[in-house]
């Protein structure tokens, strides 16, 4: 007989890492199953220049490969509905290379559905989550300003905001003329030493992984401290297939396969926390079928797999005249934009023909380590070379992100006859944008273009019909949503299954709506809140 663990957590990204840290801290014995292993920080190519990287690759060397390949982890899509799913298997998951934008949701998000009647509202409000946002900000370190808006609350604990780059300032100025505020960005980057960790040195390499861990990642910030408690065990390369149940339909453990030997294993648990990232968590739940759960564990409502909400976005580029031919500055900063344009479309009283809203990010303004945009500059030869050089310091980039409404048939399913190399049914993602997203996109294009026009920028050609490839915002949510009504939701406000009390789902799958904002800060806050509740229930012997 194998021992029964207090809690088994599937996945160690933002969600699983937070659950592991918070529970071990409170005396629980925790086992984490992770499909990958630790990414060796000393092997990151953070300070390898582009031309050096090319030489290394030619020598047959590789940086750590964060993204999992499709052979190991396949997924399907209908022919005419592509979905580009980015997944990282390994400790810390996608937080090793995430964009670090850390924005709190507001009640415009939590209560949005209450106002417009589209699908169900969240069972919680900003006031329920705010104390956890406060704690997360302080734990992981989020830099930002104190320029709160109704759509962007809670700046109490920010580390100093980095100064904007010239291009960002010029956009800020142009937007202001249009009555739109661009505020200081909020990012989980340490702009000064924090909780014993070194500050960022402004190398701009975050997308390659930070060699000193100056931005939040689950592995260094949550798992390593949790190990110190002596109560955390991680089994690496454990590819989870199913949550197992007992004769009463309660979770009894987890079935997994060794990633390399493909040998099947089982562990027993009093409580199972599912945190494999939205789509993989959903796949695990749908594959956890039994007599009591013919439709997948905890899925009597048939909402699991449905309402997949990503975000819709676009990219617009321009060259601001004030910076054409200007001296080239080191624009790396903290590796992403230093500003953010919070949602504003609810404020001006104008009636719109779509629901919900959008915000805007600005990554890639200024001098960067390539000039891919030059492909859009016509011509060749000496004149072309001059044209590129002149524009290089003046590049500005606008990336609006809009909320995608939850639709019942934007959906993940599994097919028992379509198996991966472990014999686990593969997920099929059927997702498409609808009328609401198209209409919102029109205003997103118009807003971005109007800011560029106000800045008198030369705008790079774009196609206003382009909707982007679904999946590429890398913000998947809502396929196991929380809600007050067990008939219309799978989880309660503490990420606990309505049907199966000892199963918690703490990643983006639990979100009731997507919002226009990046989800990770909210994942961290909700996972902390859920595991506080869970610890209380276990201590009170209700679980």
């Amino acid at each position: 007989m194998t021992p029964t663990h207090d809690v088994v957590i599937i996945g160690s990204g933002a969600a699983g890492g937070m659950a592991a840290w918070n529970l071990t801290r409170q005396g629980m014995k925790v086992l984490v199953l992770d499909a990958g292993t630790k990414f060796p920080r000393e092997q990151f190519w953070s300070h390898v220049k582009p031309w050096q990287a090319q030489e290394r690759i030619a020598e047959g060397r590789k940086p750590p490969q964060f993204y999992i390949d499709l052979k190991t982890a396949p997924y399907r899509t209908p022919k005419d509905q592509p979905f580009d799913l980015a997944r990282v298997w390994g400790r810390g998951g996608k937080t090793n290379i995430w964009g670090r934008v850390s924005l709190r949701y507001s009640d415009l998000d939590f209560a949005g559905a209450e106002k417009d009647g589209w699908e169900i509202p969240w069972p919680i409000r900003y006031k329920d989550v705010a104390p956890y946002y406060d704690k997360v900000d302080q734990l992981i370190g989020v830099c930002g300003g104190d320029d709160d808006q109704d759509s962007l609350p809670g700046s109490r604990f920010h580390l100093p905001a980095p100064k904007p780059r010239c291009g960002e300032r010029l956009l800020q100025k142009a937007a202001k003329n249009l009555g739109i505020s661009i505020v200081a960005g909020r990012r989980a980057v340490l702009t000064k030493p924090h909780n014993g960790r070194a500050a960022c040195h402004y190398c701009g390499a975050c997308g390659k992984g930070c060699d000193i861990g100056a931005f939040f990642n689950s592995s260094d910030y949550l798992l390593e401290p949790a190990f110190k408690s002596g109560r955390l065990r991680i089994i690496d390369n454990a590819v989870v297939a199913r949550v197992l149940t007992d004769s009463e339909g309660r979770a009894s453990g987890v079935q997994y396969f060794d990633r390399f030997t493909k040998k099947e294993q089982q562990v027993k648990a009093r409580v199972v926390i599912v945190a494999a990232s939205c789509i993989d968590s959903t796949r695990i739940l749908l594959n956890s079928k039994s007599k009591q759960h013919p439709n997948g564990i905890g899925n009597s409502s048939d909402v699991i797999g449905r309402y997949l909400s990503e975000q819709v976005r676009l990219h617009m580029f321009g060259f601001v005249p004030d910076l054409l031919g200007a001296p080239v500055r080191n624009d790396d900063g903290i590796g992403g934009e230093h500003v953010y344009l919070p949602r504003f479309n609810h404020r001006d009283g104008r009636k719109r023909d779509y629901l919900r809203g959008f915000g805007m990010q600005f990554w890639g303004c200024g001098a960067t380590d390539n000039a891919g945009w030059a492909k859009e500059i016509s011509g060749f030869g000496a004149g072309f070379k001059t044209a590129v050089k002149k524009r290089y310091p003046s590049l500005v980039a606008l990336h609006p992100y809009g909320e995608v409404l939850p639709y019942a048939d934007n959906r993940i399913t599994v097919d028992d006859s379509d198996l991966d190399s472990y014999g686990i049914p593969i997920s099929r993602i059927a997702f498409k944008y609808r009328e609401n997203e198209r209409k919102m996109m029109t205003e997103m294009y118009e807003t971005a273009a109007s800011i560029l026009k106000e800045a008198k920028a030369e705008i790079l050609p774009y196609d206003p019909a382009f909707m982007g490839m679904p999946g590429q915002a890398i913000h998947e949510h809502s396929t196991c949503r929380m809600g007050a009504d067990p008939k219309r939701s799978a989880l309660n406000g503490f990420c606990q299954m309505h049907d199966v009390k000892n199963v918690f789902v703490v990643d983006g799958a639990a979100f009731t709506t997507a919002s226009e904002k990046n989800p990770t800060l909210t994942i961290l806050a909700l996972a902390w809140r859920a595991t506080d509740y869970l610890a209380g229930e276990m201590k009170a012997k209700r679980l």
């Binding site: 031309w51 047959g60 940086p63 800020q172 100025k173 661009i182 040195h201 790396d332 060749f380 196609d463």
Partner: protein
């Protein structure tokens, strides 16, 4: 231009997965093909007061890309042949042997041609990620260690 965030963030990782794990020592293209390629990329980005594309090692960059991608290599060979035939029909000699004026005349109407776009794209990718292209031509001096990030200090840029 519609790049993805992943394009921006994982160029290196992507390169590493498209390249074979084996070291690539010898050039993939033949010597005449490489000579042709050098001539072509120098028309795209010539030497001025800063290095040109072949000075910056762009032919090697493209050679590696083609080695890793048979379809791309196929397009290169077919496109080269077609361009040389055009050059011969119009000016009586293959592309590299033409004068710059003739080369320019031949390529100018090709702005939307798939082969031209592919070759211009590869040249841009190679040149503006090379040491010479990035640091000497563009003046990039990033990916370093700073104590402070100065940010914008121009009063005229403030909102």
């Amino acid at each position: 231009m519609n790049p993805t965030r992943r394009d921006a963030l994982v160029t290196i990782a992507a390169l590493a997965t498209t390249a074979s794990a084996e070291a690539q020592q010898t050039p993939f293209l033949t010597t005449p093909e490489l000579a042709w390629l050098s001539a072509f990329v120098d028309v795209m980005i010539p030497r001025t007061d800063t290095p040109g594309a072949s000075d910056a090692g762009v032919p090697t960059f493209i050679d590696r890309r083609l080695a890793a991608n048979p379809a791309l290599a196929e397009s290169f060979r077919a496109g080269r042949k077609a361009l040389d035939e055009d050059a011969k029909a119009k000016f009586g000699a293959p592309f590299p042997s033409l004068t710059l004026a003739q080369q320019t005349e031949l390529l100018t109407p090709m702005e939307k041609d798939p082969f031209f776009r592919m070759m211009k794209g590869l040249t841009i990718d190679g040149y503006y990620t090379s040491r010479a292209g990035l640091t000497q031509e563009l003046g990039w001096h990033g990916n370093t260690f700073l104590m402070e990030f100065p940010g914008c200090d121009h009063p005229e840029h403030q909102a």
